[in-house]
């Protein structure tokens, strides 16, 4: 909650310090379109695009501003000539789709692989995964995205160059061609995230599982002659996965940040793409709306993790 408050305060300060010429352009635009006076146009611009009235005292502006944000009134985007809510409504599903698909893929594969490496100990996979993780750590996510874009989309033409689906070929709805088309468009963005994150999840799971291996109850389970698969999944995996779940929220935050560049590379119409557009065109209304949503999303993810935690970790339930 404090974070949301701090974030909106930062936004408020930023919005109050917009370079004058940006507002000037909007005001000029409004005067041209509606034929109102300059002062009136300036007031309209601030109320409409930024959500505060310049005549009121500062604290009142601040309260109005936050009230507007909390009500879900995110303003009006001057560059797209659409309410920010409408843009968000069209962009959010795509980002959620991409992020959830990437996160679950990399998390599940990483956890399984990490568990396997920890259990088998000396395998050839171990050093390979370590080297791979160090290499992907050195590659920023948008560099991965750009490499995939250049080689798989442009050079080989295996994947589409832009968009979330081809509007000419398929009709949105619950039909097979549409779903296939959407997955085809989502493949490269998802792949960039997965390539980028899978090594880290594997190493984390391995580290966590190795420390669990030493526990007495694991030895007891092995000594009791339980099947190997059961020991690995129910005894080691279940305990080892707990610290990783806490990291999911952090990961979502960094993926949200990464989406700005990845979606821009693939011209994928999600939150990140529109955020980059807003940044490039100095569209503060859109910028603040999307930023507010990103923060809210991160906080929500933290809350969900806090709620899930006691379910998967009985030790946290005791308190």
């Amino acid at each position: 909650m404090a974070t949301l408050f701090a974030a909106t305060t930062i936004l408020f300060i930023v919005v109050h310090n917009i370079p004058g010429d940006v507002i000037y352009v909007w005001v000029y635009d409004i005067v041209e379109t509606y034929g109102v006076s300059w002062e009136e146009a300036e007031r309209i611009a601030r109320v409409m695009f930024l959500g505060y009235e310049p005549d009121k005292p500062l604290w009142q502006q601040y309260i109005d501003y936050i009230r507007n944000l909390l009500r879900g009134n995110l303003g009006y985007s001057p560059t797209f000539r659409l309410p920010v809510n409408a843009i968000v409504a069209s962009a959010l599903p795509w980002t959620l789709f991409i992020l959830s698909l990437s996160l679950s893929t990399s998390f599940i594969i990483g956890v399984l692989l990490g568990m396997f490496i920890a259990w088998k100990r000396k395998t050839i996979i171990d050093p390979i995964v370590s080297a791979y993780a160090a290499f992907t750590d050195a590659t920023p996510d948008f560099v991965t995205a750009m490499l995939l874009f250049i080689f798989l989309a442009v050079r080989l033409g295996l994947f589409p160059l832009k968009g979330a689906y081809d509007a000419e070929i398929v009709t949105p709805g619950f039909n097979l061609p549409f779903i296939a088309n959407v997955l085809w468009h989502a493949a490269l963005p998802v792949l960039s995230y997965v390539i980028e994150h899978i090594g880290a999840w594997t190493l984390l799971m391995k580290g966590s599982a190795v420390s669990v291996l030493e526990e007495d109850y694991v030895r007891a389970a092995i000594a009791r002659g339980l099947r190997e698969s059961r020991v690995v999944t129910a005894y080691i995996g279940r305990t080892a996965i707990i610290p990783l779940v806490a990291l999911i929220a952090i990961s979502i935050g960094s993926m949200m940040g990464g989406s700005i560049l990845i979606e821009t590379v693939f011209t994928y119409p999600g939150m990140g793409y529109f955020f980059a557009q807003a940044i490039g065109r100095m569209d503060y209304a859109l910028m603040q709306g999307l930023f507010f949503l990103i923060i809210a999303g991160v906080i929500l993810a933290n809350l969900v993790v806090d709620l899930i935690y006691p379910i998967i970790d009985p030790r946290a339930r005791e308190e």
Partner: protein, 310 residues
């Protein structure tokens, strides 16, 4: 046993013996150079980093930057004359990479330095004083940790309209210090309970002495590792911001080169443009790989139990 007066012990401990240059060099060799030479990862990392550092410092002096447009020479493949080929306007890519490395490293170095300073001050004050100050500072730190840094950096960068590397680095640094401040605080808290700090307190040494002479040297290796990691983070962030074309400080900055290749001159769409599109990418990956190797190698040396990539 003769009892020494407290004043005398204090004198013995606080006395600073002037080291000769040779002694200092020998000590530096045994505590830094030799372990790095012996650790494979740290060695590779330091080689790569040294290469980029010399590229950024003496490189621009040896390789002159020629930005004259020669349309008939556009998108040439690598040759002796142009080691990495030419860009969309027939300019040598290698020259741009060399001159860009200076921009990239300057911003990364400044950002990491600012962030370290903030982190050290907040971490030490918070860990050493404890109580209300600690709770307040850590509350702020948590907020900085939760807010995704990249969008904020972008928003501030466009609002402030950065025009020089110093303020750009400062904007990056504001969103980079929080994690380190937290761990410095934790280390200071555990150090504070140790005997040698207790002893220093009993002897009545000044807080300044305890902080700078007793606590800081103990977390110094740790800070070195973090410094390299932060530089890596700053490179990613600054190149990412430049990639969106927001802070056009210099045309040869790698991020700006990527922006031009991707969005302006379509170098990614033509087969001949591949060298222009890939050169900055490869430079970034190699530089960051060096940083990671160096940081994790030093980490192994300082704390053999902790191995990041193993």
């Amino acid at each position: 046993m003769r009892r020494m007066p407290v004043e005398m012990i204090k004198e013995v401990i606080t006395e600073e013996r002037k080291k000769t240059l040779k002694e200092a060099l020998v000590e530096f060799y045994y505590s830094w150079i030799r372990p790095i030479l012996k650790n494979r990862r740290a060695f590779i990392g330091s080689l790569i980093l040294l290469m980029f550092i010399s590229m950024a410092t003496v490189g621009p002096l040896i390789v002159p930057l020629d930005l004259t447009t020669r349309w008939e020479q556009r998108f040439l493949p690598p040759s002796w004359e142009h080691p990495l080929g030419t860009d969309y306007a027939g300019r040598d890519i290698f020259q741009q990479i060399v001159h860009g490395s200076r921009e990239v490293l300057t911003i990364a170095f400044l950002a990491a330095a600012y962030a370290i300073l903030i982190a050290i001050s907040i971490g030490i004050v918070s860990g050493y004083l404890g109580g209300v100050v600690d709770a307040f500072l850590m509350g702020i730190t948590d907020i900085f940790l939760t807010i995704p840094s990249f969008p904020v950096m972008l928003i501030i960068a466009v609002t402030v309209r950065v025009a020089d590397p110093f303020s750009f680095a400062a904007i990056l640094a504001i969103w980079m210090w929080a994690g380190l401040a937290r761990s410095i605080r934790a280390q200071v808290r555990s150090l504070r309970e140790r005997e040698f700090i207790e002893a220093a307190k009993v002897l009545g040494m000044s807080t300044r002495h305890i902080v700078f002479k007793e606590i800081l040297p103990n977390i110094a290796p740790y800070i070195t590792i973090y410094f390299i990691r932060m530089m890596k983070g700053a490179i990613t962030a600054s190149v990412g911001i430049m990639f969106l074309g927001v802070v056009p400080l210099s045309i040869v900055h790698w991020g700006v080169m990527m922006n031009l290749a991707m969005f302006q001159y379509g170098a990614v769409y033509v087969p001949e443009g591949i060298f222009y599109a890939l050169s900055p990418l490869m430079a970034i990956v190699l530089l960051e790989y060096g940083a990671i190797c160096f940081a994790s190698g030093v980490e192994e040396i300082v704390n053999p139990r902790l191995k990041t990539y193993e």
